[in-house]
């Protein structure tokens, strides 16, 4: 709490300090020092960052950021729970899958520490903006060695300081009518200008609107430039959001949006040191490490053998002597999966896992419990 208070204070001071300076002076402050800015392509770096000179555009799933489904995401459908399914028996259980938080068809843009924002192609709308971070793609891209996603979802984690969140129905009004009342908007595409910033084009009813999103005149502000081809009267209004009109003429609207949120989000999970291995921790690891993707619990076939009844079972290998599965073998299979390949499966499918001792033991406890 205190940390976040000081953080806010810091940014507020900074904002005051820079209030009147033009955006190019922000540019001068930041060196294009990110890997992406230097190389110009995405690397194995799981936390890629662009820069003011080299914005990073990334189509991806993103978190909703807590924006309202009803108001902000009305053109998305409603997911539901569904019965858990055993691939081994073909039966459903009374347990259910819960959907997770995410928006599927967005464009995330990062300009280094200055600004990140998410624009959604389904709603044709800015969802949220943040500074001092971007997206941690680890969940999606995995690490270089393992090549698998980390965790159950494929939604990258947002990190940084969120200063703007979309509120209320679509804020753009065309000739006095909110886009929300014109039916689902249709995203048409975007152009990259000389500054490599995207300008989005979309259609609401018969109106064709373009929008460019850029850093505002000070930190934690956004500049939005709308144009419309038929020179309609454009107006921007959003609850609880301070909006300053810079320019307005038929078919043109330029505004600056001031912060309406303040939330520091870290992507770093606290590394919890496990002292005592338990079956429950093992079960959790089975999901979070991604074991679930290849090893079923119900006898179902997949890329890897099922874990059902594996402990104590006889195992035959491609080129090693057969053995009865014990703890030592399980440990070896997690730590050095290349050591032995079970007959009927492909070698090299499983990455090695470097875990805490107690994590290995928890996994083994869990595997032993799968009967």
């Amino acid at each position: 709490m205190i940390k976040s208070y000081y953080r806010k204070l810091f940014f507020a001071t900074l904002a005051l300090h820079m209030y009147s300076s033009a955006s190019h002076s922000i540019r001068a402050q930041e060196k294009p020092s990110t890997v992406y800015a230097e190389k110009g392509y995405l690397t194995f770096d799981q936390k890629p960052l662009g820069s003011l000179d080299k914005p990073l555009v990334l189509r991806t799933f993103v978190p909703t950021g807590g924006v309202s489904h009803k108001d902000v995401l009305p053109n998305h459908s409603q997911g539901s729970t569904s019965p858990k399914y055993s691939a081994g028996s073909g039966k459903e259980s009374t347990k259910e899958y819960e959907p997770i938080d995410g928006v599927p068809a967005t464009i995330a843009v990062n300009l280094g520490k200055t600004l990140s924002y998410v624009w959604d192609t389904t709603e044709c709308r800015l969802l949220y903006a943040w500074a001092d971070g971007f997206l941690d793609m680890k969940n999606y891209w995995g690490d270089r060695k393992g090549g698998r996603r980390k965790g159950f979802g494929y939604v990258p984690k947002l990190y940084g300081f969120v200063f703007y969140k979309a509120q209320g129905i679509h804020p753009l009004q065309i000739n006095g009518k909110s886009i929300a009342k014109l039916g689902a908007p249709k995203y048409l595409g975007y152009s990259l200008g000389k500054d490599r910033l995207p300008t989005y084009d979309f259609k609401a009813d018969r109106h064709i609107v373009s929008l460019k999103i850029a850093p505002g005149p000070s930190t934690q502000t956004l500049r939005l430039d709308f144009t419309s081809t038929a020179k309609e009267n454009l107006h921007f209004t959003s609850p609880n959001t301070q909006v300053e009109e810079i320019k307005k003429s038929p078919g043109r609207l330029s505004i600056v949006i001031r912060p309406n949120a303040g939330e520091r989000i870290s992507s770093e999970e606290q590394k919890v040191v496990i002292k005592k291995p338990t079956q429950e921790i093992g079960e959790k690891l089975y999901t979070t490490l991604g074991c679930i993707a290849c090893h079923s619990l119900d006898g179902g076939k997949n890329h890897g053998p099922t874990l059902q009844g594996v402990y104590g079972a006889k195992r035959e290998f491609l080129s090693a002597k057969s053995l009865t599965v014990d703890e030592a073998y399980l440990r070896e299979s997690i730590e050095k999966p290349m050591a032995k390949t079970v007959k009927g499966y492909l070698t090299g499918m499983m990455p090695p896992y470097q875990l805490q001792e107690a994590e290995y033991d928890s996994l083994i406890l869990f595997i032993k419990s799968v009967r």
Binding site: S80, G90, P99, G102, V155
Partner: protein, 814 residues
């Protein structure tokens, strides 16, 4: 637009591997770049575009030295792009997760600056598995393959596109609009559904002859690793996507439909790649060039898991593609995770893209494989004959006279169901009857049955005359032939079909045989039916009024019809009654014609008087004939889709025909039938009116129709359901109604009520012989023996596999 163009210099060391005939080289990438290649294409000017799954599109002009490959970033910011087509230099189409995107370098500075959304009107659930790929449609548009989601990942509270709770069930699933479909993006910008039933068709290809091809991943509802010829309106086996098929509305979650119903709807894969020889199929690639070794016109399919490429030899048999597969290259020098192949303009080199991120250890990048002119030794062609196969090698084989000793033939089936892959079921070793020729070789074997996969394995010591071994390609000398359809004997009695909005008309040898009416009636019927010599076999009334000599009794006896007086409370026999149900034609699943027979297969919904679906049927009508008889085979599969299907005991049912009035046994002056010319007998020696209510294999009505000797034999297959394995019970009347009824009341000697549990199917098979000439010449007994031996249409449903949904669903009731 001015923008820094930068070249990415490669740091990888070059690894080269080779076979004697093909050189394999690694195209280098900067060491810090994840070379997860999802799409690959040439632009016509020798530039190779590669899209990487994290979002960049790279371009290079491949030179002689793969190690000094220079890549340039052409575009960026894409979400898992897995499909790419080049319009021209600097103009690319890409399928990424959320849309079909057109990418243009408008100012020609080498870097794209415009990204157009061409199509995004399909669902996206938020699940990682829903990747998309693309190919041209040959008409200015594109086909897009929309993969399904996996139960190994979640879906969002706020997905895009319509959401279906019924679709979000099972292992791989289609929770959102059109997942698991191939859709067509037309030149005019419209997107229309094209074919359903895919699990994860990672890659789609249009061959030079205009056919569309998809592979699919191994997995649930996939016995092997299938290659599909994608046809408009077809269902390709994986059920989840059927939630978006309007014809199947009202049947509940597709994964719990009776398996036999799904099997009947399934457009069978042209080729089933052997499950342990090939894991999951990448995008099929057709070798158009004659410079890439001896395999021009064949298909290559990379393996998404292992280090191998399969080669497929296709042929069209009885109107559909099927064929043989064998390994093309199987070497550790290849990378695993092959997904795409593109050929350069020399025609000698293919570029092979691989990516594994998400499913196995990293083994990704781009390799090129070049033919060096030295002929490899392997199977060159492999085709079906009426009694076996004809095949040839790329090089003359050593000791051809000893070849018979160096090969073995076996066959097996893959089972269809929710399970992840199938083991080899019903395995058979085959006897070789003969092996002749010196190249090509013709092999005849003891038995060829459709619905099976034939494995032909050659001795590993097999050599060409110049001493080459198949080991050079590390590809075992093994061929798998997917036999969906037999090669039909050519016949002068060619069968033709003419389909219009309401009916399909069948002719045999140019003569009218029958017309199947499927619209506008309470249920689909066959009328009229002609025997050889244009003899009218059935009563016209009530379908046509005014035919001389016809009685207007029983207006529900409509030519050839199917129904039961009581099914779940609805009457499907007396369609004039208050509680009458209807059988609604939903779709023509397939038709076949040409050669010696025509075939119609349809799906129908059984609805009660309130319009509620109580069940379904899939029926296959097969029309064949010779000079003396026209033969109609009916395979009727009744499916308990929504609830247990109860066939109540009534004498009026189940498959019936009403004969021409001349075949009546007795006249009916009060109905205007004054003179009749019919006799009746059954397989058990019964005659005349006495055959009513008796059990028999067949009944035969014969006599003189409009002055010509003719008759109708109606046969019930011995496999049909009856009580205690007895023969069929016949509701065969003197006034010309003949029906086979497995559900007649017990008190009149019938089998009584039958309950078909939800999720299960009941198969009934009948044959009708419409002959000319005297009864004794019609050889009905012999014809029945042939029918009894006929295995019928192949099935992919194997008996005795407890735990399938149909058992699960029926157990739930108890």
């Amino acid at each position: 637009m001015k923008f820094n163009l930068f070249f990415l210099f490669t740091l990888h060391t070059l690894a080269i591997g080779s076979t004697s005939s093909y050189q394999i080289e690694n195209m280098a990438f900067p060491d810090d770049m994840p070379p997860e290649v999802g799409g690959l294409a040439f632009d016509g000017e020798g530039n190779l575009y590669a899209c990487l799954r994290r979002g960049d599109i790279l371009v290079t002009k491949p030179g002689k030295d793969a190690a000094s490959t220079k890549w340039k970033v052409f575009a960026t910011g894409l979400h898992n792009p897995m499909g790419m087509e080049l319009i021209g230099p600097g103009h690319v189409l890409v399928t990424q997760m959320a849309e079909l995107t057109e990418i243009i370098d408008t100012d020609k500075d080498g870097v794209a600056d415009r990204y157009n959304n061409l199509a995004s009107n399909f669902g996206i659930s938020g699940n990682y598995h829903e990747t998309n790929s693309i190919c041209r449609d040959g008409d200015g548009g594109y086909f897009i393959a929309l993969g399904t989601a996996s139960h190994n990942g979640p879906t969002f509270y706020t997905p895009r596109g319509k959401y279906s709770k019924d679709g979000r069930r099972g292992r791989n699933f289609s929770s959102n609009d059109l997942r698991g479909w191939v859709v067509r993006y037309h030149q005019n910008g419209k997107l229309t559904p094209f074919a359903s039933g895919f699990r994860m068709h990672n890659g789609i290809t249009r061959s030079p002859d205009g056919e569309i091809w998809c592979g699919d991943n191994q997995g649930d509802w996939r016995g092997g690793s299938p290659i599909y010829n994608v046809l408009l309106g077809s269902f390709n086996g994986h059920p989840s996507s059927l939630v978006w098929d309007p014809d199947l509305k009202g049947f509940g979650p597709p994964i719990f439909l009776p398996r036999k119903m799904l099997d009947d709807l399934h457009n069978k894969p042209a080729v089933q790649l052997h499950r342990t020889t090939m894991n999951s199929c990448g995008e099929p690639f057709i070798i158009e060039s004659d410079q890439f070794g001896p395999f021009q016109g064949q298909m290559l399919v990379p393996d998404e898991n292992a280090r191998r490429i399969t080669r497929v030899m296709l042929e069209k048999i009885d109107g559909a593609w099927q064929g043989a597969s064998t390994l093309f290259l199987n070497t550790k020098e290849l990378r695993a995770g092959g997904v795409r192949i593109a050929m350069d303009s020399s025609g000698k080199t293919i570029y092979y893209a691989s990516t594994t991120r998400g499913w196995q250890s990293p083994d990704e990048g781009l390799q090129r494989i070049t033919f060096n002119g030295k002929m490899p030794f392997h199977i060159k062609t492999f085709n079906l004959t009426t009694q076996g196969f004809i095949f040839d090698f790329t090089l003359p084989v050593a000791d051809p006279e000893k070849l018979e000793k160096k090969l073995s033939v076996s066959s097996f089936c893959y089972e269809y169901g929710y399970r992840y892959g199938s083991s080899e079921k019903d395995k058979k070793e085959h006897k070789i009857i003969s092996l002749t020729g010196e190249g090509p070789f013709e092999i005849k074997i003891d038995q060829l049955l459709p619905g099976r996969i034939y494995q032909i394995e050659f001795d590993s010591q097999l050599r060409s005359q110049n001493g080459s071994s198949m080991e050079d390609l590390h590809a075992p000398a093994k061929v798998y032939y997917t036999l969906n359809r037999l090669k039909r004997p050519s016949s002068e009695q060619a069968a033709t079909l003419t389909q219009s909005k309401d009916k399909i008309e069948v002719k045999i040898g140019g003569e009218s045989f029958a017309t199947y009416h499927f619209n506008g009636l309470a249920q689909p019927i066959v009328w009229p039916i002609q025997g050889p010599g244009d003899v009218r076999m059935l009563r016209d009334y009530p379908l046509k009024e005014g035919t001389a000599g016809e009685a207007k009794d029983h207006p529900h006896h409509r030519a050839m019809f199917i129904g039961q007086q009581g099914m779940n409370g609805a009457n499907f026999w007396h369609n004039q009654n208050k509680n009458a149900g209807t059988v609604e034609h939903l779709k023509v699943i397939e038709t076949r014609s040409g050669q010696d027979r025509a075939l119609i297969k349809t799906l129908n919904a059984w609805k009660d008087s309130g319009g509620k679906i109580i069940g379904a049927d899939t029926r296959t009508l097969t029309f064949s004939g010779d000079d003396t008889a026209h033969i109609l085979d009916l395979e009727l599969n009744m499916h308990a889709t929504n609830e247990d299907l109860i066939f109540e005991e009534f004498k009026d049912g189940f498959v019936g025909i009403r004969t021409h009035p001349d075949l009546r046994l007795t006249p009916s002056p009060k109905h205007g039938v004054k003179k009749v010319y019919g006799n009746a007998r059954n397989s058990e020696g019964g005659e005349g009116k006495g055959i009513w209510g008796k059990r028999a294999d067949w009944v035969h009505y014969y006599g003189t129709i409009e002055g010509k000797q003719a008759g109708i034999a109606f046969m019930s297959h011995p496999s049909n359901l009856t009580r205690k394995g007895e023969k069929s019970w016949w509701h065969a009347r003197d006034y010309g109604l003949i029906s086979a009824n497995p559900f007649a009341p017990e008190k009149i000697g019938g089998d009584g009520e039958y309950r078909l549990p939800r999720g299960q199917s009941l198969k009934l098979r009948y044959r009708f012989v419409f002959h000319r000439g005297p009864a004794k010449d019609a050889k009905i007994g012999e014809r029945f023996s042939a029918f009894a031996m006929d295995p019928g249409h192949p099935t992919s449903i194997m008996p005795d596999h407890p735990g399938y949904p149909e058992d699960y669903l029926s157990q739930k009731k108890k």
